[in-house]
Amino acid sequence: MKIYVPLDSAAKALGADAVAAAIKAEAAKRGLEVTLIRNGSHGMIWLEPLVEIDTGTGRQGFGPVTVADVPALLDGKMASLGPVEEIPFFARQTRLTFARCGIIDPLDLADYEAHGGLAGLRRALAMSGPDIIKEVTDSGLRGRGGAGFPTGIKWNTVMEAEAVQKYIVCNADEGDSGTFADRMIMEGDPFTLIEGMAIAGIGVGATKGYVYLRSEYPDAINVMNQAVKLARQNRLLGADILGSGKAFDMEIRVGAGAYVCGEETSLLNSMEGKRGEVRFKPPLPALEGFMGRPTVVNNVISLATVPVIFEKGAAHYADFGLGRSKGTMPIQIAGNVKYGGLFETAFGMPLGELVNDVAGGTASGHPVRAVQVGGPLGAYMPPAKFDTPFAYEEFDGQEALIGHAGIVVFDDSVDMLQMARFAMEFCSVESCGKCTPCRIGSVRGVETIDRIARGDADAIPLLADLCDTMTDGSLCALGGFTPYPVMSALTHFPEDFATVKEAAE
């Protein structure tokens, strides 16, 4: 009998380690022969710890499982969820990037290969650099970190640059609240990221890669370090990848708690051992990146999607999606939500369908009042905008962004003035200090919102003006996008910005 208990941090945070230990102990007590596999998460966090049992007739899911449930679970007396892939939340997804996550043992290379792993890399190893770039370009893949820049164009710039050393840097500084896709794939299917980075390296002629992984993710750091070691032992990394004669190696670097290091140029400074201050662009990192050399900086999900593009072909990937947003997006639904988790689907699903239908509305049972999409720099969307299709241009048209595709749901207890204040406060705490609109503007923003809270309506136009200055004058997205949550809160929820004054009048 095989029993699967996820090692994903969200599952662990809900007791998976204790459940795994209890299963082991109970099985030993009964003399049951059990193979315990620690898989990744399927992404249905409300069911975690989601345990699966395979007695030879396929995997049956159970969850959420507590330690107290374990005897009944092994007795076959616990109610089953059925096969995980038939649970509606899972069944309606299109899993390309996350196809293996939750299914395989993340650190079993044979299991990885049995589920389509390495097919993409083998294909890429037989291709020329320009053909690899063309495949990525044809897939329509755009940067999944938030900016949505076409990956193929970035790779082409690095490929064409002449240098003694080029680099692939994976941005795993996933600091946006409401996002956990990077963490989940690194914990649940780390080889896919390694494979994607190797393909990138072969394509652009880079032999060295780094993953800049945030220190807030100790479990992901641990899994990635083990995976890199295994990949090296199995010649998936090193001087002679899979006997091709081509070289690529990589290491994991740990961040140090600075949100701004998710911005690519400050990330590069941080990796070089400097303060994580933003750099001016140009020069582009593609030409002068890590150590001043040509560098591909891509998000985890962008790189982890590369293997499936090479396994199934660019056309297969590009067939999904909407307009210029091609392929699928792992959308993370979080906050005050009934069915929270990771939902990978083709671009284009309306926001309201994701929030009310897929995620079942709020956990509290109260009405949804606002959802923040795209992390702390993303706009707050009111239910009136729920028909917006989930895609890059469509959100842009609504003065919003999809960012790294996190959706945070709030019920009617939320105070939007406080959320706007928090956005400014967060910007002031995390500002790298390089540019004035961000460094000073965010502090003034907090003060101005406090004036509004005290009933000073004159401060409202001042806040709008300040936001304009931050948008136009900031060097990077931290100062430049903080106005999104602030102004969307002010525009769509003006009643929260007028209460004190109205009450006084």
Partner: protein
């Protein structure tokens, strides 16, 4: 801090520095190494790091002080990080954090009088679908409510 830290011999610090000198961009790995080994970045390490990397002491200090993770004085025996980010706020994270700090009579970054626990804010642990979230040392905890927080603090000896 009322308890002065016993001085760490330079050769011990140097050994930690030397371990990572071969890396490209070794400063962050070195600072992490020092903090993991000694629980903080000792003052005496600044000059040694600067000499090893041929940069100024001011540069080392500038980098160290830029990042939230690095501390110049030791933390309590356990570090409790409570998430302050939006997804946790949507599930009552702010009230939970406020209550926890009030019950301990601490502000953010404060350490309990018995030296057991330091409370740090954190902006996102990636546990946004099981909010509010916290982390004790390297152990993650989801759906933290008052009862669970009391257990966490009790186990940590606060």
């Amino acid at each position: 801090m009322q308890n002065p830290t016993p001085a760490i011999p330079d050769p011990e610090i140097q050994a930690v520095i030397d371990k990572d000198l071969h890396l490209e961009g070794p400063l962050l790995p070195i600072l992490h190494g020092l903090q993991t080994t000694f629980g903080h970045i000792p003052d005496t390490a600044i000059a040694l790091v600067a000499a090893a990397l041929n940069i100024t002491k001011a540069e080392v200090h500038g980098v160290m002080s830029f990042y939230h993770d690095f501390r110049q004085v030791p933390a309590g025996r356990h570090v409790l990080r409570i998430c302050r980010a939006e997804a946790c706020q949507a599930m009552g994270g702010k009230a939970l954090a406020d209550e926890t700090l009030a019950s301990l009579g601490l502000d953010w970054h404060g350490t309990t009088a018995n030296g057991a626990v330091t409370i740090e804010p954190v902006y996102c642990l990636g546990l946004c679908a099981c909010a509010p979230a916290a982390m004790v040392d390297d152990k993650v905890i989801g759906r933290v409510d008052k009862a669970r927080m009391d257990t966490i603090l009790q186990e940590a000896g606060a």
